[in-house]
Symmetry: C2
DNA sequence: CCAGTATTGGACCCTGCGGTCCAGTAACAG
DNA sequence: CTGTTACTGGACCGCAGGGTCCAATACTGG
């Protein structure tokens, strides 16, 4: 549903399309959807208006959706391989570091995914719903890891993986929001460390050694 | 700097101005800055274009700033009296409940303050900076409470109030972001509970009783 | 009552921007 | 070689929306 552009694409066309999405992503991620005009995109990609609508017949909405897809792919990739195997505390630590390393290396501070959704909610609810779906996928991976940890005894039986994942995910999003606002990576690291501390508090007592 | 409207206001004028801000706040908080036109505000307040610019010579920017001021005042008020006396665990619990109660009772899900800043960052950096200043004030109150708790021994001497406050604040903002996206209060409660769990992990060991 | 100022209403302007159209060019299939 | 389809350039359109102006009306202080 996200790539229903023209029926057939030649190699050249695909390249142009990719170039548009990549450049547009940089612009939108830095300046927001409302702060980026199609003319900006046109200028940044050395293309013409007709090409934009050739590759994205749905107009700006479709382009924004493609950007969201791309960005989500990037973010998930940056968290691998840890993201799929959050079964141990070591994996969570690695995941934390990967996330910090990724966002610390980004030119534009902050998390355009969370930012994007908050902007779209009041503007383009359909697109917002799609992006929320992506975020649910992300959050689901955290929850799955926590579920497996409960199975294996690394979390207490009364721990609620869904709720814990929600809290960790909120910490990530909030940390990124503040990272963007304050132009510093520290909010993200502080939020992540606190979230992981909270996770460890859901580990069984009597076995502090297992926390490392 | 935030209320440099006309020099003198009659009672009637002040009332009109207040009505404009209040109604505009509802619109902007629900639909975002970009999703709210001055014409929407005009229609919603039964006023005219000239009145908008009479009371907010700076145009939309100034209006948005006034809205941010109002909303920040509301949010801070909802957290009192706990917010100023976060010296005990009981106060933190009360604070948490007050926050949940406030946002749970709002018609529009989510936290327009964090949302606002993320939208403004790419559109109106000056306004964004002002709102960030407000958020710093808020965060500062959390930090101050934690500082006093460290003084009084409720937190370990090696705890970092600034960093902990940052983490809690990030949890609040992230929880609210997800609350808006998912149309549920649960992300906020989960994030807050985890944040408070992390705080308690910074309490001195050997005295678990003091946690209650 | 009178000047002066605050408060309104609403017509108007103009830029920016999303979106359309068409005509010209390149590339592929047969 | 030729028809067809993808690709590209750019002029153009319509309108939404921020912002200006002016003239009419209320209100205030003296």
């Amino acid at each position: 549903m996200t790539t229903a552009t023209p029926a057939r694409l030649t190699a050249k066309g695909a390249a142009t399309r990719a170039r548009i999405v990549a450049t547009a992503a940089d612009l939108v991620l830095a300046r927001g959807v409302g702060g980026t005009s199609l003319d900006d995109v046109r200028a940044g990609t050395l293309t013409s208006k007709s090409q934009l609508f050739h590759y994205f017949p749905g107009g700006k909405s479709e382009l924004v959706l493609a950007i969201a897809d791309l960005q989500m792919e990037r973010v998930l990739r940056a968290q691998r391989p840890f993201l799929d195997t959050l079964d141990t505390w070591a994996a969570w630590d690695g995941w934390r570091d990967a996330l910090v390393a990724y966002y610390g290396s980004q030119p534009h501070w902050g998390c355009p995914i969370g930012t994007l959704v908050s902007e779209l909610v009041g503007t383009d609810p359909a697109a917002a719903a799609e992006v929320v779906g992506h975020m649910d996928r992300w959050r689901g991976l955290l929850r799955d890891g926590l579920g497996r940890m409960r199975e294996s005894g690394l979390l207490r039986a009364d721990a609620d993986p869904g709720r814990l994942a929600l809290a960790v995910f909120a910490a990530v999003q909030g940390g990124l929001l503040l990272t963007q606002a304050m132009r510093s990576i520290e909010p993200l690291t502080a939020a992540l460390d606190a979230a992981l501390t909270a996770l460890r508090a859901a580990a069984p007592a009597r076995h502090p050694a297992v926390l490392r």
